[in-house]
Structures are given as structure tokens and as C-alpha cells.
Homo-oligomer: 205 residues x 2
């Protein structure tokens, strides 16, 4: 049957452009790209996610600032960074987030849930809290301060944010990376400079 | 009993500072502020939401860019704007979002739900979709394009975003304003320039 379909889409598809507003050179990907410069593109200036959830990175080889990219249109840097803390406007590599669970209506009880345990201190020490839902303000839900010490992702993929309301630096946490264990902010990504996390949510696709 | 408590907090509290990182002149509010300059402050450069959900505005009298502010710490402009589309770094007025519903664990069935109807075209015309949950990507959930024509908020308060993943311009929609009816993007706020909405979520407090 597959032979009858010359362009199978697969579960992931992203289209990137080397100019803003979906202009300039256009490239389609259905799997990871470790360095966009190897595709003769200096930088990505706009993109469309057509299928699946993706992680975008500031530098090649999936390093630097992280950006969760869900289905939709991103016409310029600010549309996916959500932060101008840096003024380096780059996205050099990206990959599918394979462990992101499927969107499911609430009435469906048989879908796979996202689960994570938050710990007050690094190395899985201190007060802990198991979560399986989105939290635009951790403090409003009873978490005592503006930091999380460590995290264990038991299923699915999550994105944590520096500020409330899903703003600031993003940290993508996945059950199938690091064994799902993030015991210090140094393991959250090379851009992480503190334990500050004030909102977090599941990544669904 | 209330007399025994000299500083009743009430359901809303926000502390604002005229310098970044919670420095400089400090003011506490438990209700709306129409013009921060009337409190002898030129501009707000950092803030802490201690109770409730608030709407912040770029200009006095609740005009210009809108920012939903939930419990937590916002040390500088980028931490609440989530956008650098403008380079005017201002927040001149703010008010409680009275219709935001309470956070409730999923197991509680008697909490008041947030409900909204999305319409494909302006003036409540075309395909419609009733929602009561958060949508980081409307397209991933089956909405056909990157625009919403009009909206009817039936209960609670919502924040709509220009881009997927809760990024870009924010539009705060409430059941107790405009009769909950937002029939054209011109009614979303003075900063709205198009029908583009790619993610939205409930405001809870």
C-alpha cells in the first residue's frame, strides 16, 4: 500500500524558510536536522509545523536555547522564542519530540497520560509533587516558591518555563531522554542559569 | 473575625516596582489602577502577583497591549510581555480579572467551568466550536486555519494568543465584558491588527 503513496507524510513534518514571513529558500523535513547550514541555509527566519511537536534549538547539534514548536505558523523569531532575553536570533537545529503524547478529548479514558514528579531540591530531595496536567502558575497551585530543584519525567514530554503564563526560557523535558531524570538545572539545557521555573505544561501532538 | 486580622488580603493582590528585579519604589494594590502615574510612578519595571489573576495594559485606562498576569514573579518587561513586537516597554494600568474561575483538581466535578464558542468568521458566522479546555495549538486540534473570526465567552475568562504555544500578542476575553461577545478583532483590544489566533487557554486563579 505504501508504494501507492509517493510522498508518505509520516507523523512529523516541518517546513522552514530562510526569510521572514515564509519567504526565500524553503525546505521540508520529516525528521531531525542537526545543522541547517549543511542544507545550505544560513539561518531559519520563519517556519510552519504541519505535523507533530518539534524541539527547535539556537545552535547546531541541539544546543543552546530550546523552543517547543507545535502545529501552526511562526512568521518570525519572536513568534517561536517568546523571549528577547538574548538578542541572538538563531535557530540552527531541530528534532521531533517523539515522547509527546497524543491530544485526546477528556472523555477518552484510554489515552496515555503525561506524568512528572517535581522535587523541591536538586537530586530528587525535599518536598515532592506528582503532576499530570498543565500549570500556568505553579505558585497559584500551591508550590511554595519560584524554583524547582529537580524533576523525574515518568511519561510523555513537558515544557517548563522560567516565568508564569508560559513565558521566558523554555526547558523541554522528555521521558525518553536522560532516563527522564533531570536532577539539576545544569541538565535542563546549556542555556539554563538557575532553578527558576514558574509554569509548565504537557507537550501534546 | 475580620477585625482580628489587621491586613485582610482579599482575593487579589499585586505589588509593583519602578525598577527591574523588584527594586526601587514599591506599591501594593488590591484593586484596579487606572494610571500608575497618578501614584507618582513613571512606569512599572517589575512586579509580583501575590493573589488572583490580573490584566496588565501598556497604556493608562486599560488600553494598548494586554498581558495576563498570574501568581508569581515578573522581574522585567520580557517576563510579562512574552513579545518584543513593540519596543515600547510600558505597563501603565492593571485590573483584576474578576470572571477568572478557580483552579480545581480534575476530580472535583462541582467547580464552575470556563466555556467559549469559537466562530470561523466575524459576527458569529460560519463553522463553530465549543471549548472548555486549553489549546496550545488550535490547528493540532482540528481548527482549519490560523484565524478566529469571532468568539462568545459563556463563562470564565480566556486568553488568546497570536502564535502557537501561548506566544505573541495576548487578547483577554471575559464573560462579564462586552456581554462576553467579541464579534470582530477590533473588539479584542486596540492593539489587535488581525484575526490571527493560534493558541488559547482558560484564565484560572
Amino acid at each position: 500500500m505504501a508504494l501507492n503513496n509517493p510522498t508518505p507524510l509520516g507523523p512529523w513534518k516541518i517546513t522552514v524558510y530562510d526569510q521572514e514571513n515564509f519567504q526565500g529558500k524553503r525546505l521540508e523535513f520529516t525528521s531531525a536536522c542537526q545543522n541547517i547550514m549543511e542544507c545550505s541555509v544560513d539561518n531559519i527566519r520563519s517556519l510552519k509545523v504541519e505535523c507533530g511537536a518539534w524541539a527547535g534549538y539556537e545552535h547546531s547539534s541541539f544546543c543552546g536555547q530550546q523552543f517547543v514548536l507545535e502545529r501552526g505558523e511562526y512568521p518570525h523569531w519572536e513568534s517561536w522564542s517568546g523571549s528577547n532575553a538574548y538578542h541572538i536570533e538563531r535557530m540552527m537545529s531541530f528534532r521531533p519530540i517523539c515522547s509527546a503524547v497524543s491530544f485526546s478529548p477528556k472523555s477518552t479514558q484510554n489515552h496515555k497520560e503525561s506524568k512528572m514528579v517535581l522535587f523541591e531540591r536538586e537530586n530528587f530531595i525535599g518536598r515532592q509533587w506528582e503532576i499530570n496536567d498543565d500549570y500556568p502558575s505553579l505558585q497559584a497551585m500551591g508550590w511554595s516558591n519560584n524554583e524547582i530543584g529537580s524533576m523525574q519525567v515518568q511519561s510523555g514530554a513537558w515544557v517548563c518555563y522560567q516565568f508564569p503564563g508560559y513565558r521566558g526560557y523554555q526547558y523541554i523535558m522528555e521521558c525518553d531522554r536522560h532516563g527522564g531524570e533531570y536532577k539539576h538545572y545544569r541538565e535542563w539545557g546549556s542555556h539554563a542559569q538557575s532553578f527558576q521555573v514558574q509554569s509548565l505544561r504537557r507537550i501534546q501532538q
